[in-house]
Symmetry: C2
Subunit: 168 residues, 2 copies
């Protein structure tokens, strides 16, 4: 099946039974013993690791959490371009996405209460190639900006509850 | 150097020269030719891949973008526990973080304009062990909830500008 056929089948299933659209995702994380900042992550059958550069106490064996956040945004954006191009019947020959973000470490270290710990600004640059008119790609951009899940996460508040359990 | 010594040195450098606190991060992404949803990601010297499960058109060779977003949150949370425990002089023997998030696919597919494409709700469960009083760990939780960069990203709006370039 082509991508547009797969996505049409999924949308058809949702229209038939709207409850199938409600999906949950999960990730488990364990700080690796005898390291400062190495984290093992398990997502279904997929494993990855996260670390920090030396200036933040790590050994730089992997990208750090805010870099993973940028990767979530950039990959989501690339896939949403691909999916919405298929949905709109727009031919897309290649998609590259470059994401930059700025952090002021005064926030993380609690050195200035007026500085947020997260990103102050994010820039997403998308480069595409393909045979369609620039109007068609501009329409694709409008749809992607409205429907990219991780862009929505960045641009809007999301309720996130935290609970701590202290175990013996 | 211990973690608290490294972090104290970094904070000292920031106090001496506040401009050193302004840091930028970047990630580059390329949709892999002849795949539906496989994305190659480059972050400095680190490489990773992102994919989608079959129902979203992919081959499930890697976690998907919203799962990477959860991994960014969970790993950031674990490392912020470790860093702030070092900063506050609180002994922490282990940290595990479990993150769950709900998505309603009506949003991504544009099937319902009132449904956001991103997460509707996120739950973060932290399990720690260590010899300190529960009051000390509750104080640690308060500081982490205030200073975790990716939790801040989830809980608050972040400006994210997108630009599209159509190349020949």
């Amino acid at each position: 099946m082509s991508l547009s056929e797969v996505l049409e089948a999924t949308q058809h299933a949702i229209r038939e039974n709207p409850a199938t659209a409600a999906v949950s995702f999960a990730a488990r994380h364990q700080l690796v013993p005898n390291t400062n900042t190495l984290v093992d992550v398990t997502i279904r059958d997929h494993k990855l690791t996260v670390d920090e550069p030396p200036v933040l106490g790590g050994a730089d064996t992997a990208a750090n959490p805010v870099e993973y956040a940028l990767a979530a945004l950039g990959s989501c954006h690339a896939i949403t371009y691909q999916a919405w191009a298929a949905k709109l019947g727009i031919q897309l020959d290649s998609v590259a996405v470059h994401v930059d973000g700025d952090v002021d470490l005064h926030g993380f270290f609690g050195l200035d209460d007026s500085t947020r710990p997260g990103f102050g600004d994010i820039r997403v640059r998308v480069d595409v190639t393909g045979p369609e008119s620039s109007q068609r790609y501009a329409e694709l951009k409008r749809q992607v900006d409205e429907h990219c899940p991780v862009l929505d996460l960045f641009r809007h508040q999301t309720p996130a509850k935290t609970e701590l359990f202290v175990n013996p």
